[in-house]
Symmetry: C2
Amino acid sequence: MYNLLMDQIVKSSFEQVDIAALLRRHGINPTAQRLIIGRAVFSSFQHISADQVLKMVNEERNCVSKATVYNTLNLFAQHKLVHEVIVDPSKVFYDSNTSPHHHIYNEDTGELIDVGEGELEVIGIPNLPENTVAAGIDVIVRVTNRNRPILN
Amino acid sequence: MYNLLMDQIVKSSFEQVDIAALLRRHGINPTAQRLIIGRAVFSSFQHISADQVLKMVNEERNCVSKATVYNTLNLFAQHKLVHEVIVDPSKVFYDSNTSPHHHIYNEDTGELIDVGEGELEVIGIPNLPENTVAAGIDVIVRVTNRNRPILN
DNA sequence: CTGTGTGCAAAGCTTTTGCACTACT
DNA sequence: AGTAGTGCAAAAGCTTTGCACACAG
């Protein structure tokens, strides 16, 4: 069964080779499932959620379980291969662009897009609590559609 | 049963009166459950999550259901009585301070604190997508404890 | 008695855990 | 054989939905 999966992967173009190398460079053992998931994450979509990945990888046949998708995306995030963007309590987005940048989130459509380079800047360094180290800054600009129904 | 609850509430000090007035001012009908939940949210804690509210309101006796706590907190947020702070996919914090300000989140302890006035500033206005309006900007400074175990 | 509003049990999500299995040493 | 690492079914946890009940007109 693994051999079947592996065949399917090795057979295809060099994108996969790159992804395998990418995983290795980040200290992740490139298994069949991880290559499939990696391909989904690094394909055209810039921001993708776990359930979108799940749908993509199982479009043709069921070969990766829900749990593995979630665990693998967490693994990628821990190894800084992707960046978690938390904008909605019920959905984490994974961003294949790991260079620091900010986001615009449309609360009506659920769409997440990047803020252009240099359009937004954060100035100042806040006093951090005792014995803590900064791990990153997330800026989310929340927008809504014009003409949305009025809140009663 | 409602009379019992109401008695318990009316009996107590003027904090509750203020909360009832606060709810009315925001167009929310002040029912027994909402007053109890309101009291929890506006008491000493500045940032509180739904399950913390649930614990607080049911400390003495079980009188408010899980669903009602969640629905009521959503209601408060919709009516701008509190501000939702989304920092962790599995937990929404409700902030009783609705004036614009930013947050520091400790990923190790789950602690959420305010950035002091003027310590951090966001400069610039990004290009928003067609037909959308800005609804707010959230800035989250993520910190971790020093001495945390090294990522392998 | 009718219609609006409220509260909650049950259902529906997303995510994590614990264990079987694999594959190296 | 032993050990570290991997994948997934089942469990857990957070949130929403749909319906029964309460209350005002």
